[in-house]
Amino acid sequence: MAKASEADTKKSDEKKADKEKIGKKKTDKKKTVKGKLGKLIIGVVACIGIVEMIILLLTLQLSTGKVDSYITTTLWQAIFIIPLHLPTFLTSGMWSITAALTIGAFIGGLIVKKIKKGILVGIISFGLLLLLQFAVGFLFDFNALIAWYSLISSLGSNVILDFLVSIGILITAGAIGGALTRE
């Protein structure tokens, strides 16, 4: 009887240990997925944050006081449209857009520590900037958005080429950043 109860206790202890192991594996897996997604999100946020800071401070050369007095919708559209039309604005001497895209995606790539994730940072950042551009247009002033694209077309630019160049720079810089810090 005593032996039987000992064996039962042993079995239940083993079952508990197995359950704990499975539970730990699931928690570890969740943490890894969270960690991976977390790094990607931080990389994208860092990329877009740096791009917009450089656009505001260097390209548009705005101080805090000027930002307050600027026409809000035009400013918001400008900061999302300008990075996606690099060749158009580069011909007007706005070289800092190249710096914004390169540095933003590069730092995003450094954060994610993998080449593929660096590329993903570039693609997601491009998609977000495009989405935000249209969101500002649809939510606030769609005519202003059309006016921006009319301006870009009047400068003799190709919108598709602009998008391709911008996404190319974001992807390349993100991949280089990811390649340098990969484990």
Binding site: G93, W95, S96, T98, A99, T102, F106, I176, L180, T181
Partner: protein, 160 residues
Amino acid sequence: MVSATIQGLASGIIVALAIMVGLSSGTEAKVVVLSGIVVVAFVEGFSDAFSEYLSQRTDHTVKTRKVWKEASIVFATKAAIILQFILPFLFLSKIEEATQFAIFWGLFILSIVSGHIARQQVNRRIVRTMVLYVGAAIIIITITYFIGDFVAYIFFLLGI
């Protein structure tokens, strides 16, 4: 040979940026800056290639043809990396804009090169090495900017 070339690239980029900033702040003449970059490209490329040639020649097992080939590759690589700084001055009209873009581009290439150097080391502190290299380059560029300005001021005072 590859790691020596990459380490040489870092110094070459810093020298090219410093020369460019010093000349543009001192003279504000595009032609002077462009000729300075070409001269630096040749000098840096040649000196590194010559060093590579001499170091390879000490090893008698290496064939002469291979030595010349490697020296040529070192020269071509270094000269090409430095000569690319000419492009902003060709495409951007204002010298200040071209200098600023060239500085940004040079620092970006330098951070990639320094990151690659850090990856080869045992104690791989990649971001720290990049920050160190870029920080050192910025300090050197700032000093040469003021040196160029100071020289221009002295010449102005002397009436030259």
